[in-house]
């Protein structure tokens, strides 16, 4: 009874705190601009099934992909056991499904155990790979102490979880012989059925029950901790990978988003719009492109929260490979950090974050009157933006369909269109396209090559 009560309190606390954190993330994602993303559901389902569920893009590097798959599939299957743990926890039962689903039960347990052993191997490989092998993408400058610790914490958490499962199952296997009344027969389970009796056989029933309970609580408490840790971790991808692949853009990678405001303006300048269709002049100078999470699309921010910081993008980026400051992973991490910063300030409700000229009339701090004097340009430098060749290698490399290039291009648009800044080198190109119709200032006729060629022998 006491255990049940304690369980109920912990579970409800864990779920409600996690729920609050997830709502905060949702709010932060929606700090971005509205963008309608829909259509072609067939292709979207395919992306979710193949790329999120099926991990298709991971398999471009099959060694890490295989170990990652072990951990991932083990994680998926353990969810079934988790349901049982929740039922047992709330209702004080023991292995609720054991006498209800027949042969399926030992099949389930065996599957989970085999996968868990594979996951255990995977976890050790990943810990070694992160900490012992010198894999460049894990040691770039944006991988400061926190991203490194974050990655290790999760792997250690995984080990604790597995320790919980095996001590629970191992002790249970022995207890089934001692007290079949309470400890239902689960059928033969490969690892715990072999190593349980071998290592724990001969211990008294009391000690065994303590080990079994310890494993059970360790497992579920680690899960609760994990759930509440996710929102501040790169491991959020285990949830967001699914919606993120669903909402991923489906146009050809080479297509840049159109800017209808500017198109209409230019059309009306050129007299291409029917009379009366001219765009209404705005009183304030409009802002073009993006300089902060407020002017990016919500999808860009979801991308940032989905990023696993794996660095596959950065390790394929030609600018980064040749020592430029640009790193597409850093762009994603910066957007997330900035969204978190704004979110935390909004949560504080402090009036000092209200735009100065509105501070007197405003009743509360909102996303609309927010101003902390900073923008994304305080995180991402112009030098980084200018190094991008728009090659799409980062987009292609990302296993969860994140698009760093889209963000880079919107920031470039802001720089040129709103700030009238940008690399001075480019100005002659702009003027020569605008005035001469060519990307270089050349006085010749455009078909001089043809005239010359046809007049030669």
């Amino acid at each position: 009874m006491l255990q049940q009560l304690f369980f109920a309190i912990v579970a409800i606390a864990a779920f409600s705190y996690a729920f609050r954190q997830f709502m905060t993330i949702r709010r932060n994602i929606l700090l971005g601009k509205e963008e309608e993303i829909s259509g072609d559901e067939g292709q979207r389902w395919k992306n979710v099934m193949l790329i999120a569920f099926g991990q298709k893009k991971m398999f471009k590097r099959w060694i890490p992909a295989t170990f990652h798959l072990f951990i991932y599939v083990a994680f998926l299957f353990t969810q079934i056991e988790l349901i049982e743990i929740l039922i047992d926890g709330f209702f004080g039962t023991h292995r609720f499904f054991a006498d209800k689903i027949g042969i399926l039960y030992p099949i389930m347990l065996n599957t989970i155990e085999i996968l868990s052993v594979l996951a255990l191997i995977g976890t050790f490989v990943f810990l070694a790979r992160r900490n012992l092998l010198k894999i460049p993408r894990f040691h770039k400058s944006e991988m400061t102490w926190w991203p490194k610790l974050d990655a290790n914490l999760i792997l250690i958490g995984e080990l604790v979880l597995l320790a919980g499962i095996f001590s629970m199952n191992g002790a249970d296997a022995v207890l089934q012989k001692l007290d079949p009344e309470h400890f239902h027969d689960t059928g033969f389970v490969l690892f715990s059925g072999t190593f349980g009796p071998l290592l724990l056989g001969g211990l008294s029933e009391g000690v065994l029950i303590i080990i079994e309970r310890f494993g059970w609580w360790l497992h579920i408490l680690t899960v609760f901790a994990f759930l509440n840790y996710l929102p501040s971790s790169k491991h959020l991808h285990i949830m967001l990978a699914f919606p993120n692949t669903w909402y991923a853009r489906l146009q050809p990678a080479g297509e840049m988003n159109n800017m209808p405001e500017i198109m209409d303006e230019v059309k009306s300048m050129m007299g291409l719009l029917p009379e009366g269709d001219a765009p209404a002049m705005e009183e304030e100078l409009p802002e073009f492109g993006a300089n902060d999470v407020f002017s990016l699309s919500w999808k860009n921010i979801m991308d940032a929260y989905t990023c696993t910081e794996c660095g596959r993008c950065t390790s394929e980026c030609p600018a980064n490979i040749t020592g430029k400051k640009l790193s597409p992973r850093k762009v994603m991490m910066d957007v997330r950090d900035r969204a978190e910063e704004i979110g935390n300030n909004l949560d504080s409700g402090h009036f000092k974050w209200i735009q100065e000229d509105l501070r007197n009339e405003a009743h509360a701090l909102t996303k609309a009157n927010y101003d902390d004097g900073k923008t994304l340009f305080d995180y991402i430098s112009n030098e980084e933006l200018h190094a991008c060749t728009t090659c799409n290698a980062c987009v292609e490399a990302c296993p969860v369909m994140i698009n760093p290039l889209d963000i880079i291009l919107q920031l470039r648009r802001y720089e040129i269109l709103t700030q009238s800044a940008g690399p001075a080198d480019l100005v002659p190109m702009f003027t020569s396209i605008e005035n001469g119709g060519s990307a270089w200032q050349i006085p010749d006729d455009r078909d001089k090559w043809a005239v010359d060629a046809m007049s030669k022998d």
């Binding site: 059309k267 050129m270 060749t389 090659c391 470039r412 269109l417 396209i433 990307a439 090559w449 060629a453």
Partner: protein, 265 residues
């Protein structure tokens, strides 16, 4: 074929004579003005003449597609150039376009539709594949490329941007060359460093130029010929070969040039 026999009609002249070509050849800024790229433009015209495709160019009525301006962030300049081009194309009732530059190809194919310009757009390597496949363009056996070790550089805008990896490779296969892939090829192909308006600006500070990185990779395959499909890659890789002082032994060519060379056009 002597150059005197070359036929490179202008759209305006054809229209005046009441004719409409099968296809418009979009030459692009590099293809029109860059000395190296002009050779590719000519080579492609020779092939079109050889197979008897009725084509035309816009000449002075063609303007930059606006690609470098748009990618640099200057949407105004892009829209002005693009809308002007769309008006011109509308005037001549153009339905089908072929481009020797993958940047022009990408913008015409993927970005002009949102501005009101809809065409069937081909990259020249796609047209070449089609012509070879249908037998209209015969590749002579025992040509200069026969059995030669060659490597192929995927341009970002034909490759990743538009998913076309096979057409150029099947042209190379038809040429009977010994294609040796670089480690990073197809989806993983490394950029030459010119895209996104980099061609018009100094590099940002770094350890190495991107084109040297890419050329070094091409050179390690031991190929005598580096094949490309883009005028900008052509410049970047040729510069890279020069920087490595290999210009005597390693050549950088566009696929159209390889065909002209092979068939002795």
């Amino acid at each position: 074929m002597s150059n005197k026999e070359l036929k490179i009609p202008r759209m305006a002249d054809m229209a005046a004579a009441g004719q409409e070509p099968e296809i418009l050849f979009w030459v692009g800024c590099a293809g029109s003005f860059d000395a190296r790229a002009q050779k590719v433009t000519l080579a492609f015209c020779k092939i079109l003449n050889e197979v008897g495709i009725e084509f035309a160019i816009l000449g002075n009525e063609e303007s930059c597609t606006g690609d470098p301006a748009r990618r640099a962030g200057n949407e105004f300049v892009f829209q002005m150039a693009a809308l002007q081009n769309i008006e011109t194309l509308k005037m001549y009732n153009v339905k089908k376009i072929v481009a020797t530059c993958p940047h022009c190809f990408n913008v015409l194919k993927n970005e002009y539709p949102k501005l009101g310009g809809n065409y069937e757009v081909l990259h020249h390597t796609q047209l070449l594949e089609e012509l070879i496949g249908s037998g209209r363009l015969k590749i002579e056996g025992g040509g200069s490329l026969n059995g030669k070790k060659i490597t192929y550089h995927d341009s970002c805008y034909l490759g990743r941007a538009n998913g076309e990896y096979e057409a150029p490779r099947s042209v190379l296969e038809a040429l009977n060359s010994d294609l040796t892939e670089m480690v990073r090829s197809k989806e993983r192909g490394l950029c030459c460093g010119a895209g996104g308006a980099q061609m018009w600006k100094e590099d940002e500070p770094g350890d190495k130029r991107i084109n040297t990185e890419r050329t070094d990779e091409a050179l390690t395959t031991g190929a005598e010929v580096i094949a490309s499909n883009c005028p900008f890659c052509l410049t970047m890789l040729s510069d890279g070969v020069k920087a490595a002082e290999k210009q005597e032994t390693v050549m950088v060519y566009d696929l159209a040039e390889l065909i002209v060379d092979n068939n002795g056009l």
